[in-house]
């Protein structure tokens, strides 16, 4: 394509001429970012899901307001011995246990095959009939699940977004260094990637998470205590660096051969300049897509690690630990496990759908075919 003889020459005169002939918007519209935005704007589904994500973000950000104004409780406040008025009746938050029928969730008298013994049974969802208290019920410790769900969302989102930011940051640096310099730098970095590809991601995360969960991390002047959210954040960002870095390196490598990069280098631009003002801007569109999809991925990974006890540590709530708590009470109080799961699915789905729309908008090959 580049060597076609009909190559044209675009001078300022002709540009001005063209501009006067065509509506200004179509000229400016040629920018790929504008076109992408133009396409994205018409993708109502992607937009609706973006709104959904923003709503989830806002709800979790407002967790303290909900806790103090609506539920009158805190994320770790224990109400085991208290009672609450539901539709005018006093009900204990956690009642004494007994045999429960698995099918109906109602108490049963004999310990038949369908019955299971529970030590304590928390109150179920009150759906606002208790003045905003225990909207989704309580857990075995008498804590308000709705409050914990919002606070748990905060941890999950902080870990998910934080780990993505850190992971993408390092992946980009490594990809730029590797793709730009090549040679032994590239060799070392790609070997590093290969090495971490050799571990199942979840296992590596669990290994790191559980090894660090005991004493925290104390090296190189960095001190992280064992219960900190930094541990799952760093663990997740660390295990995913190769998965983001490798495809990015491939892109940088192919950009590196492009004329405009060669030109910048031959004009004596410093490596820093080439990397950050020539190469980086050209991978931003994939970065944007990656960013969205990796946040989604990391929220699920965080939930998995926390569910297994290798992520966010109790008593801090996160969607993963909430599901783990709910698993034990699934027969009597299924909402304890359903609610955080639905929260994860909605959040992750919104990011995945939006990310998908973003990719289609930025890279419309599938829709418009350009032949030469």
């Amino acid at each position: 394509m580049a060597q076609q003889a009909g190559e044209t020459e675009f001078t300022l005169d002709t540009a001005a001429e063209l501009a006067s002939d065509e509506p200004a918007s179509t000229i400016r519209g040629r920018s790929p970012w504008y076109l992408a935005w133009h396409r994205l704007r018409r993708n109502y589904v992607a937009f609706a899901f973006l709104v959904l994500f923003v709503v989830v973000l806002a709800a979790c950000a407002l967790a303290p307001v909900y806790a103090s104004q609506v539920a009158h409780s805190g994320p770790n406040a224990n109400h085991v011995l208290e009672t609450v008025k539901v539709n005018g009746h006093e009900v204990s938050v956690v009642s004494a246990g007994g045999y429960i029928d698995k099918k109906t969730g109602k108490p049963c008298t004999v310990s038949g095959t369908g019955c299971e013994l529970f030590s304590a049974i928390p109150i179920g969802p009150t759906w606002f009939s208790a003045g905003g208290k225990f909207v989704l019920g309580a857990d075995a410790n008498g804590r308000d699940v709705a409050v914990r769900l919002l606070y748990g969302g905060r941890s999950s989102l902080v870990v998910g977004i934080g780990s993505t930011a850190i992971c993408v940051f390092f992946a980009v640096i490594l990809a730029l260094l590797s793709g730009y310099f090549g040679g032994w730098i590239d060799f070392v970095i790609t070997r590093f990637f290969d090495l971490f590809y050799a571990f199942p991601v979840v296992l590596l995360g669990i290994a790191l998470g559980s090894a660090l969960a005991i004493n925290g991390f104390h090296h190189f002047g960095i001190n992280i205590e064992s219960g900190s959210l930094w541990i799952p954040t760093l663990v997740i960002s660390y295990v995913l660096v190769p998965y983001v870095g490798r495809p990015l390196r491939g892109q940088v490598l192919s950009l590196r051969e492009k004329e405009f990069v060669e030109a910048a280098i031959s004009q004596g631009a410093s490596p820093m300049r080439v990397m950050f003002s020539e190469l980086l801007p050209n991978i931003t569109s994939s970065l944007l897509v990656f960013f969205t999809l990796i946040i989604a991925n990391n929220i699920v990974l965080e939930a998995a690690l926390s569910f297994l006890g290798a992520g966010v540590q109790p008593p801090t709530a996160s969607w993963g630990t909430l599901i783990a708590d709910g698993q034990n009470l699934i027969v009597t109080r299924p909402w304890l496990a359903l609610a955080p799961g639905i929260a994860i699915v909605l959040t992750v789905l919104s990011l995945n759908v939006f990310g998908d729309g973003l990719r289609d908008a930025l890279d419309p090959r599938a829709k418009i075919k350009i032949e030469h």
């Binding site: 698995k102 099918k103 369908g114 070997r191 290969d194 090495l195 971490f196 590809y197 050799a198 571990f199 199942p200 991601v201 979840v202 296992l203 590596l204 669990i206 290994a207 790191l208 559980s210 090894a211 660090l212 969960a213 005991i214 004493n215 925290g216 991390f217 104390h218 090296h219 989604a296 699920v300 939930a303 998995a304 569910f307 297994l308 006890g309 290798a310 993963g320 599901i323 709910g326 698993q327 699934i330 027969v331 299924p334 496990a337 359903l338 955080p340 799961g341 994860i344 699915v345 992750v348 789905l349 995945n352 759908v353 998908d356 090959r365 599938a366 829709k367 075919k369």
Partner: protein, 317 residues
């Protein structure tokens, strides 16, 4: 061909050695504090800790410690400190369940993944494609352990119906019928994520390949649409899927299905690691991590060989 094999094998061995070093760093060096106490777990007696310190050589220099760890790992002498059981024996005991889970689920996810990908690609832009896309994205967005808990409760424990037996693994030699009925739900749950993911990847690959010049050439020869799709489009679109499948298969075989195994109580290799997490009993986690890495390294080698077979351009002559 022979040189390719030799080179690739040497590479694999080097990666394995590097993996042991990473495991050493993760479990012994990086966490800080007293490694003996950590390995001993939460409920260790002081005597236990002193024994561990001695048997792992934590009073010795760095390289001796590494060497001791290698000897323990490859000599099959890794011992869990809470249950005092040999890690290797436990892993071997978990393998039938893990292998059953992996092989069954992978057949399901490969078949349906390809089906979903092809269906949505050939109807790209139409309603069916949109519906499939949304379903696939929902599949990708569901945490597998949550899906497992929910389906187990509603479909096996009687929350709604009791179509499936409730968890646990029954050996295939013990009762093939029981084995099958116990595995179906875990297979489906584990496969859901992969079906969605493979479907999306394949759809993208097919849509890219359809725009390739050689597909246009095939069309210009007057071939039937089916032949073009199967021989020209799918043949090349499936090459990346082969790589993906090999590595995912290895990861799940190597304990990557830890969540599914745990939720359905299958007593596989992954669940073995999970049971140790809450006691902070590290040797089993170490053992399973190594075991998982081994499968990935071996399978990535197989995938490379197969890849060279599928793509003549990189076939060594």
């Amino acid at each position: 061909m022979a040189t390719f094999l030799v080179r690739r094998s040497i590479g694999a061995i080097l990666v394995c050695i590097a993996v042991t070093f990473v495991v050493f760093l993760i479990f012994i060096v990086v966490p800080g504090g007293d490694p003996a106490q950590r390995i001993a777990g939460k409920n260790a007696t002081p005597q236990n800790i002193i024994n561990i310190r001695h048997s792992w050589g934590f009073d010795q220099p760095f390289y001796t410690q590494y060497w001791v760890m290698l000897k323990k790992m490859f000599g099959g002498n890794l011992v869990s400190y809470t249950s005092q059981q040999n890690v290797l024996t436990q892993i071997v005991q978990g393998m039938p369940a893990t292998f059953s889970l992996t092989i069954g689920a992978s057949i399901i996810w490969l078949f349906f993944g390809i089906l979903v990908g092809v269906l949505s690609a050939i109807t790209a832009g139409r309603l069916s494609d949109r519906v499939i896309t949304v379903l696939a994205l929902i599949g990708i967005s569901m945490p597998v352990f949550w899906l497992g808990i929910i389906t187990r409760y509603y479909l096996a424990e009687g929350g709604l119906v009791t179509w499936f037996p409730d968890g646990e693994y029954v050996g295939i030699t013990q009762s093939p019928v029981q084995w099958l009925s116990h595995m179906i739900l875990p297979w489906l749950v584990l496969a859901v994520l992969f079906i969605g993911f493979y479907g999306r990847v394949l759809r993208g690959n097919i849509l890219d390949t359809i725009n390739e010049d050689y597909v246009r050439t095939a069309k210009s020869k007057g071939l039937t649409p089916r032949r073009i799709l199967v021989k020209h489009v799918l043949r090349t679109s499936l090459i990346p899927i082969v790589t993906l499948f090999g590595l995912d298969f290895a990861a799940v075989l190597g304990g990557g299905a830890i969540l599914t195994e745990t939720v359905f109580d299958l007593h596989g290799v992954g669940q073995y690691a999970e049971l140790s997490i809450n006691n902070f009993d590290l040797p089993p986690i170490m053992g399973v991590t190594m075991y998982g890495a081994f499968f990935i390294v071996v399978f990535s080698m197989i995938v490379d060989l197969f890849y060279a077979y599928l793509d003549p351009r990189i076939r060594p002559t």
